[in-house]
Amino acid sequence: MKRIVLLLTLCLAAPVPALAHKVIAGVFPSGSAIEGEIGFSNGDMAADTTVSVFGPEGASLGEAVTDADGFFTFVPEQPVAHTFRADLGAGHVAEVTMPAAEVAAILGETALEAEETAAAPAPAATGGGVTVAALTGEERQVIAEAVRAEVRPLRREIAAYREHNDFQTILGGLGYIAGLFGLGFYIAARRKLAG
């Protein structure tokens, strides 16, 4: 037994790559639509996967399909909570919900942008005088798209980091196993001595 324990200790002392994965899913506002990403924590994203959208009582609101990077978009029509669900196979199910307040904010934002576009021609009618041009709805959309493109890789990197299983955590798990079985051994020994 001593040699087996020594051999296992030497094997465990060598750092092993932990290539584990688990399902990750997230949704966030994206202009007048909801954008989401679905995949695994090791970076494999769910490409061409159907995402079903449900309302608060399970009513079907529509469907979306992810692109090659695991992203999908969905335009909400009612200010209710939206639940997004995708079956990735082999027992992996991704489910995430956007609360009603965020969906209502998206719909409100759309109305605001419509008003902004209608108000755009107003400064041209002023004629003389210095006019500080406000951002038009179109310019706002372009800026939002540029910011989203820059933020997307950062978001993915944060998700991957959050799911990282480093060597320290593995050692922690092994320590817990040693502690639990050591405690069991202590209890059994006490019982044996008392008997």
């Binding site: 037994m1 296992l8 932990a18 196979g89 082999a90 922690g172 079985f181 059994a188 044996k192």
Partner: protein, 205 residues
Amino acid sequence: MHIVDGALSNPVVIGGAVAAAGGIALGLRALPLERIPAAGVLSASFFVASLVHVPIGPSSVHLILNGLAGIVLGWAAFPALFVGLLLQAVFFGFGGLTVLGVNTLNIALPAVLAWMLFGRLAASGTPLAGAVWAGIGGAFAIAATTVMVGLALALSGDEFLPAAKLVFFAHIPVMAIEGLLTGFAVLLARKVKPELFTSLKGARA
């Protein structure tokens, strides 16, 4: 192999939890003082082996070593593997806490079956003959685990039937590798510490 929260229907989750609790109770009664260190080492081996994943299609596979745990521990494999699965759920989020019972049953029951079918054969005869039977037991445990995972998925809905078939075929290479690994482990144990297997008879008496 790690079924996630929300993938199974409630009757399957409850039934799995009850059966796993019964198995753990039986396992604790079959775990004498002298066997606790071996159970801890095999629990740690399962914990580490399950963390190295190899991607296959939309999912991935990994070693389990539940056949080895069953052949050495018998019913005591239930608490040993339960501890490993509990720590994986808490530390890494593999599987989930609500499906911990089903995962324990799917992994530990094949270990006990491997012990019932091949445990005596692995402990008898020459070390090489014992290693061959242990290798067969290791491969059998993987096959039984995939069947039980597929059964749990199929009982939860017809849409999981293709996933169940995928799980089984994806693990055919794992059966071969784990059979070899279990065989070599038992060969080494039979040569350097044969009482690891014979003392179990004393415990049962």
